[in-house]
């Protein structure tokens, strides 16, 4: 059982959630409330990480963040080490490939807020910020929780992109999914089995929470 790898995966998932939460709120709300001509294109772009093969995605991320890229060079000059093959690089990649998991459910959550309720909030004198805090979030939060839970669980399991962008550096980028792969190659079936069981348990928990929350949103809408 590679506790370092598990802890690293949990931290990676946690940081991804922290970064994506405001993104999910702002983008989810924006897409839920506004109609504009390019909306279909924006939604398709958000969904892109879902349909791209992880290796393709990992390759493009390497090109975008790696050595000899503007982003990579900037990072290197600021922090004296590469963005790729670092934990921060994994967080950056993770944030991008989790966009659909974070934004989509959040958008559904905000769509569940009736238009007239939002208009009523404005008529009560609430500015958009106050309306978000006092009316929209209390009504849309199940969608946001679903978004965060899905993002967390998906990050725990991600393999291809993490391997390409992070390598497999113990304590830095060797996540539990990679550790399982590594133990199988090391003919250590027992360790691989234990770690797999832990991941399965976490995934089941995620599914249970998501279903329970979806039921709540459903009841609220009816």
């Amino acid at each position: 059982m590679d506790w370092t790898a598990l802890w690293l995966s949990m931290r990676l998932a946690g940081w991804t959630v922290v970064v994506l939460l405001p993104v999910a709120v702002l983008m989810g709300r924006f897409l839920a409330y506004r109609q504009f001509r390019a909306k279909g294109l924006v939604e398709a772009l958000v969904m892109l990480p879902l349909v791209l093969p992880p290796t393709v995605f990992g390759f493009y991320l390497l090109v975008a963040f790696g050595r000899n890229s503007p982003v990579g060079d900037l990072w290197q000059s600021l922090f004296a080490h590469q963005l790729v093959f670092s934990f921060e690089g994994l967080v950056a990649a993770s944030v991008i490939f989790n966009l659909p998991f974070a934004i989509q459910p959040a958008q559904r959550g905000f769509e569940a807020v009736p238009v007239e309720v939002r208009e009523a909030a404005a008529c009560c004198g609430m500015s958009p910020v106050r309306s978000l805090w006092r009316v929209e979030l209390p009504l849309a939060w199940p969608g946001l929780i679903t978004a965060m839970v899905l993002t967390f669980a998906h990050t725990l399991g991600e393999f291809g992109i993490v391997l390409m962008v992070g390598g497999s550096i113990p304590g830095e980028t060797k996540t539990i999914a990679i550790a399982i792969y590594d133990r199988v190659q090391g003919f250590d079936d027992q360790a691989a089995a234990i770690m797999s069981a832990v991941l399965v348990a976490i995934s089941l928990f995620t599914i249970a929470v998501t279903y329970w929350l979806s039921a709540r949103v459903g009841r609220r809408l009816s």
Binding site: E116, V117, E119, A122, C123, C124, P128, V135, R220
Partner: protein
């Protein structure tokens, strides 16, 4: 604190309307669905913006497309009651009301709920309230905003008839406390005639008639947009006594009126809506008729209509009663302005919701 509204647009629906509402006045926007009434309300509230428009309260512009002024909704002091009430489902009734206050004050919010007859229900959530109760919370919330204009968007359409009658009475009662202009959108002419001081009839986005309720309701051209069957007169009356057989005797300027079970204590002032098509005319005072109400009057004018009908305006003790009869009848009777004629009214043809409490004339000036 008068409210001025002007809106012109071509898309998505054609619109060309302008009107003004005085403080304390209730103006009804009437017309069929899709005519643009709700759009006008949303324009006042800032939820929609016409191509050209101006909304001003007491001279201060909320919207002025010519001057580039467009205050966002939350900066306009407007109270609106939506057709679906749009209460915040996660808040209790009192919390809903407090949400509209500048400085939330629970005691004040509870007093507002008392004002709309919701005492004791402050801690219920909307899901635990009936339609009529939710509507009252919506009204309380709109009032708690201390709005410069109160907007009601078909607020009674979702409740049953009995509750609606009750709510009419409450709104009329409430108006005694309101100093602001009130705009009511409705497709129900009965509602408009009972509640409104002035009316604007809207068809296809244009105002086809504007005036006091009495003027508009007696104008067949105006009512062609709403359905000529809505033509009616309003008679003020006072409840005198309730008879044992279920009829109520009222005292009207035209004499005694007998109507089925009108609610209210003796002495209550009411307004009675008399539909033109329910009125029969007779030269001689008839005898042996089942009708309980026979009133003498003088023909003022006869307005021919489209088809076989005409409208006869009969003056009865200073009030006008309208009768829609056939041209053949007027020819046979040789009716002409100045003739004496008897107005015959079936008691049972006056529906319960055609009678409403009248606002107290002594307080109407407030």
């Amino acid at each position: 604190m008068a409210l001025e509204v002007m809106a012109r647009a071509r898309t998505p629906i054609p619109l060309d309307v302008a009107f003004q509402v005085e403080p304390g006045e209730l103006l009804a926007l009437v017309g069929h669905s899709g005519a643009g009434k709700t759009t006008l309300l949303r324009t006042i509230a800032g939820l929609w913006r016409p191509q050209t428009g101006r909304v001003a309260v007491n001279g201060r512009a909320w919207l002025d497309t010519a001057a580039g002024v467009d205050l966002p909704t939350h900066r306009r002091r407007v109270g609106i009651v939506f057709q679906s009430y749009a209460l915040f489902p996660h808040m209790t009734a009192v919390q809903n009301v407090m949400a509209a206050m500048d400085i939330p004050d629970k005691a004040e919010a509870e007093r507002t709920l008392d004002l709309v007859n919701l005492h004791g229900l402050a801690d219920r959530k909307p899901a635990q309230l009936s339609g009529g109760q939710q509507q009252r919370v919506a009204v309380a919330r709109a009032l708690a905003r201390r709005p410069y204009a109160l907007l009601l968007d078909e607020p009674f359409s979702a409740v049953d008839r009995a509750t609606r009658e009750k709510l009419y009475g409450e709104i009329i009662e409430l108006r005694r406390h309101l100093a602001m202009p009130v705009v009511l959108v409705t497709h129900d002419m009965n509602e408009a005639q009972l509640l409104a001081d002035r009316m604007v009839v809207i068809a296809d986005g244009r105002a086809v008639r504007e005036g006091t309720t009495a003027e508009v309701m007696a104008d067949p051209d105006a009512l062609r947009a709403m359905g000529i069957r809505e033509l009616a007169a309003m008679l003020p009356a006072i409840i005198v006594e309730h008879a044992a057989d279920g009829l109520t005797r009222l005292d009207a300027p035209t004499g005694s009126l007998f109507l089925p079970g009108v609610e209210g204590k003796p002495g209550t002032r009411v307004r009675v809506r008399i539909m033109a098509h329910e009125v029969i005319l007779s030269r001689l005072r008839p005898e042996g008729l089942s009708a309980q109400n026979i009133i003498a009057g003088k023909v003022v004018r006869i307005v021919p209509g489209v088809g076989p009908g005409v409208i006869v305006y009969v003056d009865v003790a200073g009030h006008e009663i309208l009768a829609r009869i056939t041209r053949r009848a007027t020819d046979q009777m040789a009716l002409a302005p100045g003739d004496t004629v008897h107005v015959i009214l079936k008691s049972m043809s006056v529906a319960r919701d055609h009678v409403a409490r009248a606002p107290d004339p002594s307080q109407a000036a407030e």
